[in-house]
Symmetry: C2
Subunit: 195 residues, 2 copies
């Protein structure tokens, strides 16, 4: 390994560790309750490198974390939506995967964006815009699948908003109840709609 | 006014002021970002009376605020759902009222419960249970309206979960985008479902 790569390696891994730790905390408890000191401690990365990678501090770090989580979930949704030619079945698989992840995490891992979106919608324009961009990217993936199932572009956009809204809302209700029932109910309702 | 009523009056109004101020802050920015000092300052009530009314501190105050907001919104939903014999029209009026309130508040006043529910779902059992109780009360009102429109009890329960989830999710998307479009889309989709 060249000296250049050796020096780039740990820097990259510190950056990744900050992002992964922040993404997890934002998902589980939101922005205001996730302190920079805890992020540094949990990430295991040197504190001195935090402002090297994120000179904008917590807000910049949160935006990077939301982009990271948003991209991961977008890839997962796209994969599941492409996994069945049947639209209802494809949507059901997305709901099932979210329910399984929520249950496996002890009802901690719901939407990685929603909590920050709600906290920041009226408080931080950069965080709000970042959350909106993630939601828009997810909506585009869902709308594309709906168009490929035969819906017109306006109908697909409208239905995609219903699908994402129902998923987001069901994740709130499921986390509040510690019960995946709301995700199952939305799954059944969307299956019936897709017929 | 008797001496007894005169002394009870200000006590009651301090309590109400703490609750109203807390409810507003929880709705706009959530639990972690709403500090007790700010609540006291904004409420205009004497700081000394905070622990008199709420010996359990911020958590107890937040629970009282969520009960207050939850009850208000429940009454509003029930009234709108009863305002038309047509189920689709009744649901559309709920969405319209939420969209109007959100827009009038500069996209600040979404669901008064959701932010705290997401922040606290894994962090505070009393806050989680309080949020779940409010959601359950709203679901009961919606399910009752659906049953009165002819749905069986299990179908009404399932559809009520879809309706509330879609509303909650649309409020997140609308706040993140600063655009009531998601609420309008869900309104149209629910209207079509209700036919």
């Amino acid at each position: 390994m060249s000296a250049e790569r050796a020096s780039r390696g740990p820097e990259r891994s510190s950056r990744d560790a900050f992002i992964a730790t922040t993404a997890k905390l934002l998902r589980r408890r939101g922005y205001a309750a996730s302190g920079l000191n805890e992020i540094v401690t949990r990430s295991g990365a040197p504190k001195g490198s935090l402002y090297f990678h994120f000179p904008g501090g917590k807000e910049q770090l949160a935006i990077a974390a939301m982009e990271h989580s948003g991209g991961q979930l977008q890839a997962g949704i796209a994969q599941l939506l492409a996994s069945s030619e049947d639209l209802g079945e494809a949507l059901a698989r997305v709901l099932d995967a979210l329910a399984a992840g929520l249950q496996a995490s002890g009802f901690r891992d719901g939407c990685p964006i929603a909590t920050v979106a709600l906290e920041a919608a009226s408080e931080s324009e950069p965080l709000r815009a970042s959350a909106a961009a993630v939601f828009d990217a997810w909506l585009a993936v869902i709308a594309e699948r709906l168009r490929s199932a035969g819906l017109s572009a306006p109908a697909a956009e409208r239905r995609a908003l219903l699908v994402l809204a129902a998923i987001e809302g069901a994740l709130i209700l499921a986390r509040a109840r510690h019960d995946v029932g709301p995700l199952h109910a939305v799954r059944e309702e969307l299956l019936a709609l897709a017929v």
